[in-house]
Symmetry: C2
Subunit: 422 residues, 2 copies
Amino acid sequence: MAIIRPGSTDELAQVMRACHAAGQSVIPVGGNTGLVEGATASERDVLVSLERMNSIEELDETGCTMTVEAGVPLHTVQERAADAGLMFPVDFGARGSAQIGGAISTNAGGNAVIRYGMMREQVLGLEAVLADGTVVSSMNRLLKNNAGYDLKQLFIGTEGTLGIITRAVLRLRPALRSRNTALVAIEDYGNVPQLLNTLGSELGGTLSAFEVLWKDFYDTVVVERSKHQAPVAGDHPWYVLVEARGGDQGADDARFQSALEDALEAGLIVDAAIASSAKQREAIWAIRDDIDGLAEILDPVMAFDVSLPIADTAEYAARVNDRLRERWPDTFRCTTFGHLGDNNLHFLLSVGSEDHDEQTEVMKIIYEELRPYRGSISAEHGIGLEKRPFLDVSRDPAEVALMRTLKRALDPRGILNPGRVF
Amino acid sequence: MAIIRPGSTDELAQVMRACHAAGQSVIPVGGNTGLVEGATASERDVLVSLERMNSIEELDETGCTMTVEAGVPLHTVQERAADAGLMFPVDFGARGSAQIGGAISTNAGGNAVIRYGMMREQVLGLEAVLADGTVVSSMNRLLKNNAGYDLKQLFIGTEGTLGIITRAVLRLRPALRSRNTALVAIEDYGNVPQLLNTLGSELGGTLSAFEVLWKDFYDTVVVERSKHQAPVAGDHPWYVLVEARGGDQGADDARFQSALEDALEAGLIVDAAIASSAKQREAIWAIRDDIDGLAEILDPVMAFDVSLPIADTAEYAARVNDRLRERWPDTFRCTTFGHLGDNNLHFLLSVGSEDHDEQTEVMKIIYEELRPYRGSISAEHGIGLEKRPFLDVSRDPAEVALMRTLKRALDPRGILNPGRVF
């Protein structure tokens, strides 16, 4: 019906007071990079975009914090932190468009969660406007603050259903001075979690990425597409992109190499290609990140984001593949990969159909198969409208009732992002 | 009035249903190691102790999680993790008595927050009993799970006012293989945050403790008491206990030493004693941890726990000292120290009086002086009853109103730990 672009928290508060009085639904929108229909609007809704609130208000190089408005793109935060010799560790493909407010509202994940946690762990303070226009400013800058309830948690990962985030204080980290990257090959899935835990210990906590690629992913991206060179030869069921970041490139090179040699000797891995230049590192990451290339091959593509215990992941992926192949024997095609260090598995797949009922059937298979593993239907993308029908796979009635209690308490008229989550 | 010791979540649920029906106040108690009157009871209250619910239900060595009942002592968790070749990183002096449920309810901090975060960051899943006896079980085991609201946040750090924690899934970390510890001396406070940030970068993220001791602390513990040997000679205004933990003792020794040499050359520090044995390391930590010794000397002692930006901490401490010395010129004595890497400052002090009004006057000075720095009246100890009168120093009316909204929604009869926090 309308799009409103407030220029300040006060302007948004006025908008919310008016919408609350009128019972008008409000859909907050950030960079529109979400994948679960978290910010889609109907002709009866008012969209609120934070794009004009895009200032970096303060960068405290001593205290390692950055205070930003919600509309600042993630990439801008990363760049400004780097300019100050610091680092903002959350990173994912949509960094150029995704806005901080949206990334916080969805508790975004990405490539470095194994070491630094999700967006939730990077937020020290928040300001939000509630459904009735009340401004709650909890702009804490301190790592430790137990003075009463930690109110920011109400707005992190709740997909704009309890309030609209307007400003945030972000935690920055020391810039790291070394980076080591390898692609390794694994024959037996049981070695995947063992490699993760061994490297976690042997690399002294500097392990920063552990991205697992199934053969179906590797073959499609590397063998089928001519764009990438194969970093390791042969034909293996699993590949892992391993990256460590530390304080001293020379010493860390030696440590990284000896950790992988130990893994080879112990039989955990059967081959390894260590990047010996930035160019080689980028080439390895380009394989992992070639999602656009995959999407072309798999058109019409469906993307999935689930999580479950790492020990069970190969079995789960095989069961899902079996069921989908049985149902769509001629058209089913799947690629399997994920941030397995954080329990996060992705599928990019096609059943050759864009039919709504068939796609719902795919979702049902993928989500229902999570039940025996107590998995989650959303690792990092949220629920939005898309996954709402499947929420009961991961959350029981008492949990959903408590979510509703919170919603009623903070948004009694149900105007904020209605229909999302539950 | 009574103490109830449930043996299971179901038993506690029955107790809460009865108390809810009767409007009976309930005070949850863990190991009774808190310092802010969070679990004190009057003759009208029912105490609920979780001490009988003390099982470790599962230790998943592959997934690196431990599932425990709330009454398990922290030290038991640490030991069981270590037995499995893993680590539970939260650590503080009361580890032998403090229970996991209490540590979560108060979002406990301690010595390794700079690297691993507070208790909040170690909790993957929770089970809690609400005021009306409803059991909410959110026993997530996954690092990434964005399937709806993250309900555990309601019970972490809310001091038992929104529910009683009965079980938890804890995140374990890889055990580290190296440990390097030093005590360094600093002449100019401006070098304290600079050393923190330089080591954060140069040690590649392996910095695990950064404990600052003011001269008043060091002189009292090391010079006045004959129990400790001085690790560094001379007379300096600040000392910092620095510890790094990594993956390879030999290589990490060299890195640690060269990082401190660089700091010496850059003039950030003026002296350094690196522990070259476990005995020397323990001797350095014993100085930092000699709180009992301090408490004897400072009897009647008062303990404080605040946080503020590291750049402002020396100025704040000096102002507080000036005001207290002016007010109690003959009897005032203070020792100053803290986890400054997490913004956390402690005072152990005495004004020579146990008089309630005088002690309130001390608190007022210490907390009110935080205002210009937007500091927190509680870094890691919580609010309890003790700090409630000062909550407005750190939280504004809109924030307290939102806390009350949550309290009303989850505990409409106000029976859970009444009077705590706000």
